[in-house]
């Protein structure tokens, strides 16, 4: 669906590039989670994917078009919800009338449905809303445009406590096989249940790029009250009860993903985690060939 092809990018000519020969493939019908430390280049990647920045070399391809050209064909299929955005001082009905005309798949009925997820109504004036409410309205509009690719930068920042759980329902309700959502966030607990695919970035490198199913097939997330840490444990992190453990899932056990644990483990023991995927895949291939 979208391909980031050998992109090299730096904000200033003389500085170290944020991305060097970076490539990434985004597929249809998935909810991606883009994780990384501060300054890892998450927002920069989103800007490159929407044509808001020009790579020094390489390009971002959307169905045969270079997104940097900012052509209507790509712009109407990619919607960015940035961390920092502005809404005009008009009524929401007016805003919809003025902006929906640019998005051929926009649905007003869906917009109303999405607003209801956040306990909001269409008869509101945008200048009377708080920042969190504005975010809810903007995200509802973004989802109602039904663009093929929806990019969200820190979408749960500024949302109240009910807003965060409403957000999860809202996102899953707007998903189908034709659409893709990419969420860049630090608030992993807000989104861990809804992600289909995890991408972890660091130092212009993709440390992890795996589907959630694949991660759970290869890795086991557990919590132990025993102070003794097993020798085959890939990574451990203290919890209230004892320790969170990340192990290789050799016995195909079921577990629930812990994104914080995974993220820290990948940053600390990148090679170990990567090996975990490759070794098990090799074993499975050998088993299949037999």
């Amino acid at each position: 669906m979208m391909e980031v092809k050998n992109v090299t990018f730096s904000y200033h000519r003389k500085r170290k590039p944020i991305f060097k020969d970076f490539s990434l493939n985004i597929e249809k019908g998935k909810i991606y989670g883009l994780l990384g430390k501060n300054g890892a280049g998450k927002s920069t990647l989103l800007y490159l994917m929407t044509g808001l920045l020009t790579p020094k070399s390489g390009y971002v391809d959307y169905q045969g078009f270079d997104v940097r050209k900012r052509l209507p064909y790509t712009q109407r299929e990619i919607f960015l919800v940035p961390e920092e955005f502005e809404l005009p001082a008009v009524s929401l009905v007016n805003y919809i009338e003025l902006n929906s005309v640019f998005y051929p798949h926009f649905s007003k009925e869906d917009m109303i449905t999405y607003l209801h997820f956040f306990d909001m109504d269409i008869d509101i004036n945008l200048h009377e809303l708080s920042m969190g409410q504005k975010k809810k309205v903007f995200m509802s509009f973004a989802l109602a445009t039904h663009t093929s690719l929806l990019l969200m930068d820190e979408p749960t920042n500024g949302l109240d406590i009910p807003g965060k759980s409403q957000f999860r329902k809202f996102i899953t309700s707007g998903m189908d096989e034709e659409h893709t959502i990419l969420i860049s966030t630090h608030q992993v607990k807000d989104v861990d249940k809804i992600l289909d695919h995890i991408i972890i970035l660091d130092n212009s490198e993709t440390l992890l790029n795996q589907s959630t199913d694949n991660i759970l097939r290869h890795l086991l997330f557990t919590e132990s009250t025993d102070l003794h840490i097993p020798t085959d444990c890939l990574y451990t992190q203290s919890s209230i009860k004892g320790n969170y453990l990340l192990m290789s899932n050799t016995n195909n056990e079921e577990s629930v993903i812990n994104l914080e644990l995974l993220f820290n483990a990948v940053l600390e023991n990148t090679e170990k985690i990567k090996n975990c995927f490759t070794i098990k895949e090799e074993k499975e291939e050998q088993h299949d060939s037999k």
Partner: protein, 270 residues
């Protein structure tokens, strides 16, 4: 459904509507400021003239008779100057606002990700801040002029014979005495306005001041070259060539501003 990646009239009109409605407060405020400025200045400058006439000061009597006979308003000369100066001042200021909203990141993202071509995006702004501004300025000037007449008719009913708005026929002398004058003015206005449009593309912040400063430096350099270096050869400028040059330069500057706009990114990197 494939999108038209070339110029689309419908998208262009939607964009103009979006820009006008979403920024209606700012546009209205600017219009009110122009109207207030024109009205206050014309009322202020005409007050002395009309009060002298109303008080039958001896030196005004013959002029009063002349104005009555020729259906002429003694304020017209000043109104003509006001028209030219205000159009230049407000026109340049309006031109410097063409990319004003791109100063803020949030707004910049919204502008650059709207599904329109860069040309449609640029042309919609140019239309609003150049063409629509001219139309609104003319309307504002006419309304303020009629108000001047109305107010002084109430204050000095005895002068109603000479209190006349700037109509095309009556004040012909002050505005287009020589047919070419309006063209000279128009081309000069295009040139200066396009300079501010270009300035806005290069200086997103404090564009009006920075462009004025650069324009002043360039003007000073031009005068220095013409007066001190080429004056011994006595230049005899051909008006037609000068007008064409101004128009060509205006088009080049608008085009440069467009290409600069096309290259705008989320942040100004270099």
């Amino acid at each position: 459904m494939t999108a038209n990646n070339n110029f689309s009239i419908s998208r262009f009109s939607y964009l103009i509507r979006k820009e006008l409605v979403e920024h209606w407060k700012a546009h209205t405020l600017q219009l009110v400021a122009i109207f207030a400025g024109l009205l206050i200045f014309s009322l202020w400058t005409s007050y002395t003239i009309y009060s002298d006439f109303a008080n039958h000061l001896t030196y005004t009597d013959s002029y009063y008779t002349y104005c009555t006979l020729h259906h002429s308003d003694p304020q017209w000369a000043m109104q003509g100057r006001l028209f030219y100066i205000a159009l230049f001042a407000f026109g340049c200021y309006s031109a410097s606002l063409i990319t004003n909203d791109l100063r803020r990141v949030g707004k910049r993202i919204s502008v650059l990700t709207t599904p329109v071509t860069p040309l449609e995006n640029w042309l919609s702004r140019w239309t609003i801040y150049t063409i629509l501004f001219l139309i609104m300025f003319l309307i504002t000037f006419i309304v303020s002029d009629y108000l001047r007449v109305l107010i002084y008719k109430l204050l000095y009913p005895s002068l109603s014979n000479i209190l006349l708005p700037c109509g095309f026929h009556q004040c012909h002398d002050f505005f287009i005495k020589v047919p070419t004058r309006i063209f000279n003015f128009l081309f000069l206005y295009m040139f200066v306005q396009s300079f501010y449009v270009m300035g806005s593309s290069f200086f997103p912040r404090q564009s009006f001041l920075k462009t004025t400063f650069i324009g002043f430096l360039m003007g000073a350099a031009f005068v220095f070259i013409v007066v001190y270096i080429t004056s011994p050869y006595s230049i005899d400028p051909n008006t037609a060539i000068l007008n064409i040059s101004l128009a060509v330069f205006a088009i080049i500057m608008w085009a440069l501003a467009y290409y600069r706009f096309k290259d705008i990114e989320i942040i100004d990197r270099y």
